[in-house]
Symmetry: C2
Subunit: 411 residues, 2 copies
């Protein structure tokens, strides 16, 4: 006899973005004539740039010829790609990682989802609140949490680190001991970058409590203000207590192409294990459950995204989305709404008017302005009363969406 994993029943409703898609579809079905603008899901909208698509085409071409065809690739990903990531994402910022410390994957979501599985089932976890729901949901499924409490909006046995207007959306270190500490910076959904000082405090905390920090830097290429850290390893002590996950999804338009990486330094140590052990176990996990990112995506990453021309084009692509962010910020400003982010991240985090609940504002915005956004409550209890606008969109659509909000939203 077999039963389903009972932890799935602990999950609250659907995955946030599935629920948004459901409500959007319901509105569409009942208003078939109306145009809906989407400032909701963080999905890229602009076509691949020339150098990037040429890199991918090159990836296909290599598979056409008997001399260059390759099947399964190296377990950790193509060597040259890992070397190039080590150079461009780490050495350039003064961080010396070897290619063997970098694992190429099919994106930051799978990696931040799966990384918990290499740690003890009894590990306690600490999360920014609000934050990208995948960190929490995967730990609920893994059985590390208790029940969901409807009143508080929290799971038992999870350490929530509130990110609020009061603390500038930068969390304090937890007062309790956490085994795994998830940090997303620039943050999804608040759009806030953690300061060097705050990251230093977390690294110190991790050393004091023998914790591991899971640092999600998927939006690091969106940082526009100088002085902000792009990698947690810019703090030297982080190499013995942090895993960093990142992605080509948003900066290169690879959301559908699927390519990312995870750095597991050899010097990372956990209780009861020697240096190198965490790196080895992650390798064992990946070589058992995964078979590599598509070699087309990897070639596209190496010859396209990470080429000089590709990097230049990707900076322009990011600038396009950040231009959208400015339009959204200006529009909300005109309406006198309070908001944060949108400067070092493609997300604008808005306080709902009149203390409205997030999902109520979602429905109101959809009904009145025909604009889809993301309810802050979907990212954690401290997200209640906030609303996320995403800067991913075609310029004219973002402009029309903001015009519609300005004209039709009844404030």
């Amino acid at each position: 006899m077999v039963r389903l994993n009972p932890n799935y029943r602990k999950l609250v409703a659907g995955y946030l973005f599935s629920e948004i898609a459901r409500r959007r579809q319901a509105f569409k079905d009942s208003h078939p004539e109306d145009k809906i603008w989407d400032l909701g899901i963080g999905n890229t909208t602009e076509p691949l740039t020339p150098a990037v698509s040429e890199g991918l085409e090159q990836g296909v071409n290599l598979l056409r010829s008997p001399d260059t065809y390759k099947g399964y690739g190296p377990e950790r990903g193509m060597n040259e790609l890992r070397e190039s990531i080590a150079e461009q994402y780490f050495r350039r910022h003064g961080v010396d990682l070897t290619p063997s410390e970098i694992f190429v994957s099919d994106g930051a979501k799978p990696d931040t989802a799966n990384i918990q599985s290499i740690f003890s089932p009894r590990t306690s976890i600490a999360l920014q609140d609000p934050v990208y729901p995948v960190y929490l949901d995967t730990n609920v499924i893994a059985g590390r949490t208790g029940k969901f409490d409807e009143k508080t909006g929290k799971y038992e046995r999870v350490i929530y680190m509130p990110c609020t207007e009061e603390n500038g959306f930068i969390p304090e270190i937890p007062s309790e001991k956490a085994g795994l500490v998830y940090l997303c910076s620039p943050n999804n959904p608040t759009g806030t970058v953690m300061t060097r000082k705050s990251l230093e405090r977390f690294v110190e905390y991790a050393h004091d409590h023998k914790s591991v920090i899971i640092f999600d830097s998927a939006y690091s290429d969106f940082i526009t203000e100088s002085g902000n850290l792009r990698s947690i390893y810019e703090i030297p002590d982080a190499r013995s207590c942090a895993i960093e996950v990142s992605s080509f999804s948003k900066n290169a338009g690879f959301t559908g192409v699927r390519l990312g990486w995870t750095a597991v330094p050899n010097s990372l140590v956990v209780e009861g294990s020697n240096p190198g052990a965490v790196n080895n176990v992650w390798n064992r996990r990946q070589s058992t459950f995964f078979n590599g990112a598509s070699n087309i995506a990897q070639t596209g990453g190496l010859l396209g995204v990470l080429s000089e021309k590709g990097q230049e084009e990707c900076r322009e692509l990011v600038a396009h989305y950040m231009g959208n962010a400015e339009i959204i910020r200006n529009g909300l400003d005109e309406l006198g709404l309070r908001f944060y982010g949108g400067v070092n991240a493609p997300y604008i985090w808005m306080k709902t008017p009149d203390e409205m609940l997030s999902w109520d504002f979602f429905d109101k915005l959809l009904e009145e302005a025909h604009v889809v956004g993301t309810p802050g409550a979907g990212f954690g209890p401290s997200g209640e009363g906030f609303f996320r606008f995403s800067a991913f969109g075609h310029r004219n659509e973002v402009e029309q969406a903001m015009e519609s909000i300005k004209s039709n939203l009844r404030l």
Copy 2:
């Protein structure tokens, strides 16, 4: 404080293919002048066929234009691709599945690895012995097994179903109750296809014990003898007790491109859950831990592999590999070695001469003939004394490898 998942320590040595790569590299380092032929790992070697690579190129081209660019795709995979799989892999064999019952993935390995996670941690598992190691390893990591017993070569709390010369490598149903029953047919490594009668017994067993069968049909396109089942759903009762996993890896040369699928029928029921619940939970699992197969691979699957021309070309590709299988079989025959398979699967399963241990024969074959194969013992205790030859290779390499074996192997 955080520790590593202790189940990783229960795993025996490295992942089989990593260990082979290690020994191969050691031989290469000490014999830098010698050519090594590879009849080991099941990795494709022939370039993509024209229609398939055009399909992939089309996948890249769609991402170049603002009108056709897509980011994240539908959670279960592109609709047209699921429709085409339903048509060509199921309806064509008399099986009526809807696209909502098919989940596109990045390959059969990740799916057969991850599927266990949606079931209760206490579920007991039954495995063919020998079989592809991923089913066992992922359950060891999930904590469903006890310790490994060096003497028997078995894990505690695993039901091994021996596939031996005596039973024609077709397992008997277990005498104990198993929650999950993994069946791989055509089998890797024995090359044996399960008969309709044996599959019917397993389906009956699953109904009697409320078990779920995980049916891996990744090699179904290699079946050459008529009368063999390509899908377990050709047995109608299987729809309420089986999940089927398959892949484009071997039949279309997609080992590195990464594309596969899993069918979870709505009528599949497990204890304590309604019809549709397993399908829903797998959807929740995939939408939380995964972000879809590369849209380039999906377009290549749809417009390339599954096009009429693509299907024709893929049949020729399969015929090429099966031609290699014939060369290997003929060579082993000439040497008077006993072997099985290689008719409905790209694997030849050879009895080692003089009752040699599998890894000893591996070393002997490498030392004497400079040929890499796969030790049967790596696939389970009943694989001891057997050796797997893979038919994946360039024709001239396979011919040279067999010539070298015939000339140099000291029997």
